[in-house]
């Protein structure tokens, strides 16, 4: 990953990409017909790494199934569902059974069913919706702002060599500085209110979007650019009709990673200093020994993360159906 991160330095800028000054182009060998899509670039600065939950890419050309085939397909789907959910079911079962048989202390790890009952209670007439709302507002605003700022900046860096040259050293410094380390600074400058938390999320979410966008623009197949140029496209049209659509899948990968980070890092901010939010709920319930409520908070956060990722994955798929992988 390290070499990919320093892309602006080693990558190919447009001026070099154009074939005129590349003598190797003369005796170019057969290249693979389809370029490998750029891999996702994840900044390591933020805490846990998001588990790659990419499902099997469904081909757009599935022949219309006949009734008998339909049954077979249903069976296959069912068996796949069992395989896929097996580990999760096992975990849930262990969570339910182990405290009951005394492997874990029921006080510290109450059985799942008890946690769920408490969770339900908190959701219906408890503080959970309020905490959830507070967290969602923070993470969504931070995430939305990050996407809105980082995509244009990434396009600019990826496309204009001078911008890349000027900003790369600075970006390298910040990218390798953990957002968590900067949280106290945000708090000092912006106070303990919403602004500092949203800025914190914004900061953490910007990196995956920015880096993936830059790499998406830089790794556009040079042949496509040549082809478009041969049809008389100027720089602006080239960007609009070739660079931008080619970079879309990479950009969305970044957006999806940012979605995960937006929740991960927010929790941290809420645990350090907040009066509402899921992070606050979890820490507060733990310190006042309301353990089932703490688990309710954890379950909520986990479900929220999963849902958000699923939603972004859907959107990503929609915009990159043409990608062959």
């Amino acid at each position: 990953m390290g070499d990919r991160r320093s892309a602006p330095a080693t990558g190919i800028a447009l001026s070099e990409r154009a074939p005129q000054e590349l003598p190797t182009d003369i005796d170019r060998r057969e290249a693979p017909a389809t370029p490998a899509p750029p891999a996702a670039v994840e900044p390591a600065a933020v805490g846990p790494v998001e588990p790659a939950s990419v499902g099997p890419g469904e081909r757009a050309t599935a022949p219309a199934p006949r009734p008998s085939a339909l049954a077979r397909r249903a069976r296959r789907l069912a068996s796949r569902a069992v395989t896929k959910s097996g580990a999760i079911l096992l975990l849930l079962a262990a969570w339910e059974v182990l405290p009951r048989v005394g492997v874990f202390d029921r006080v510290f790890v109450p059985p799942l069913s008890e946690d769920l009952v408490v969770w339900y209670g908190l959701l219906l007439d408890g503080p959970l919706p309020e905490h959830l709302r507070a967290s969602l507002i923070r993470s969504l605003s931070g995430f939305g702002l990050a996407v809105a700022l980082a995509i244009p900046l990434g396009l600019l860096i990826g496309w204009y060599r001078p911008v890349a040259d000027a900003l790369t050293p600075l970006l390298e410094v910040f990218r390798n500085t953990s957002p968590v380390a900067l949280l106290p600074v945000f708090t000092l400058i912006l106070g303990i209110g919403e602004t500092s938390k949203i800025t914190f999320v914004l900061y953490a979410c910007s990196w995956p979007v920015l880096l993936n966008t830059v790499s998406g623009v830089k790794t556009v197949e040079p042949l496509l650019i040549r082809s478009a140029r041969s049809m008389g496209l100027g720089p602006l049209r080239l960007f609009q009709k070739v660079i931008l659509p080619a970079a879309v899948p990479a950009v969305f990968t970044g957006v999806r990673l940012a979605g995960a980070y937006s929740i991960l890092v927010l929790l941290f901010a809420e645990m350090v200093g907040a009066k509402a939010g899921l992070g606050y709920l979890i820490l507060d319930t733990q310190s006042s020994f309301r353990i089932p409520e703490m688990y309710a908070g954890i379950i909520t956060i986990s479900a929220l993360g999963l849902l958000f990722n699923l939603l972004l994955l859907r959107i990503e798929r929609r915009f990159s159906t043409w990608r062959t992988t």
Binding site: P19, E21, E30, A33, T34, L223, G232
Partner: protein, 274 residues
């Protein structure tokens, strides 16, 4: 070439192309003193050893790069940049993977600002011409190599260029697909009357397709000889025609020394690099 009744479409006049290699001291001379006239409506095949600058020459005609010296004229006007009067077909198809076959063919028409409805119709027409009716809505990754190249050919024909520049377009295809596409290309050429420059490293392909075969030397590339290829009849299995064999052998003889020279160059380059 002596210009008789036929008019010259593309004139390549004493063209020289030098690349500045970044780390190496001496400049890289790709082409030196290339002189070639391509006639209006002609199918010219260009063969040469690998690394002789065939593709560089094509880039120059396409206007993607400018010659270091000499000039290239089309209909008497010097080439100053790329334009829709020339269409290129690349070996690796260069289709836009996010566009369907139809939308790929429409690409050049969009650049030409053709109205939407006309774009649709023309794209359909040219996809039909290359035998891809019914595949309009497929994405490139859903098509075979041969089909992709057909789309690429349709795309280059759709904006109606006078000149078609083809850079080893069939090299990545299997033998059967290649043969059927060669045949089809001749049919399309016959029907549309385009001037074609077809780069290949296949001698058979050059003799089969070209009305004339221009043989290039090894680097620095220049034109060694232009062979006129005429058959009494193209009916039946042309490749089995004794005349075909003679042309083939002639081109092969011209190429043999050049290929050997190119290999020596390559080896030298490899050792100096290592």
């Amino acid at each position: 070439m002596t210009t008789t009744a036929v008019t010259t479409k593309i004139g390549i006049r004493d063209v020289r192309k030098i690349f500045q290699v970044r780390d190496a001291g001496e400049p890289f001379v790709a082409l030196d003193g290339v002189d070639l006239d391509v006639r209006e409506g002609e199918f010219l095949a260009l063969v040469g050893p690998s690394g002789c600058g065939k593709s560089t020459l094509l880039d120059l005609v396409a206007g993607l790069t400018a010659p270091t010296a000499g000039e290239i004229v089309i209909d008497g006007t010097p080439v100053t940049g790329p334009g829709l009067d020339r269409g290129i077909v690349f070996q690796q198809y260069a289709l836009f993977p996010w566009r369907t076959a139809q939308a790929n063919v429409e690409f050049g028409l969009e650049a030409k600002a053709v109205p939407r409805r006309e774009r649709r119709e023309r794209a359909r027409h040219y996809l039909d011409l290359v035998g891809l009716t019914g595949f309009e809505e497929r994405y490139p990754h859903e098509l075979s190599g041969g089909m992709r190249q057909r789309v690429a050919i349709a795309r280059s024909l759709a904006f109606d260029p006078d000149v078609l520049l083809m850079d080893e377009p069939f090299a990545a295809l299997d033998a059967q697909t290649r043969e059927s596409l060669q045949e089809e290309l001749l049919r399309i050429w016959d029907k549309t009357g385009k001037t074609v420059i077809f780069i290949t490293h296949g001698i058979d392909e050059a003799v089969y397709l070209g009305q004339r075969v221009a043989v290039m030397t090894s680097r620095p590339g220049t034109i060694k000889e232009v062979v006129e290829v005429t058959f009494d009849s193209r009916a039946g299995d042309l490749r089995a025609d004794p005349a075909f064999g003679e042309y083939r052998h002639h081109v092969w003889t011209l190429l043999r020394d050049e290929v050997a020279a190119a290999q020596v160059q390559e080896r030298k380059a490899a050792t100096s690099r290592g």
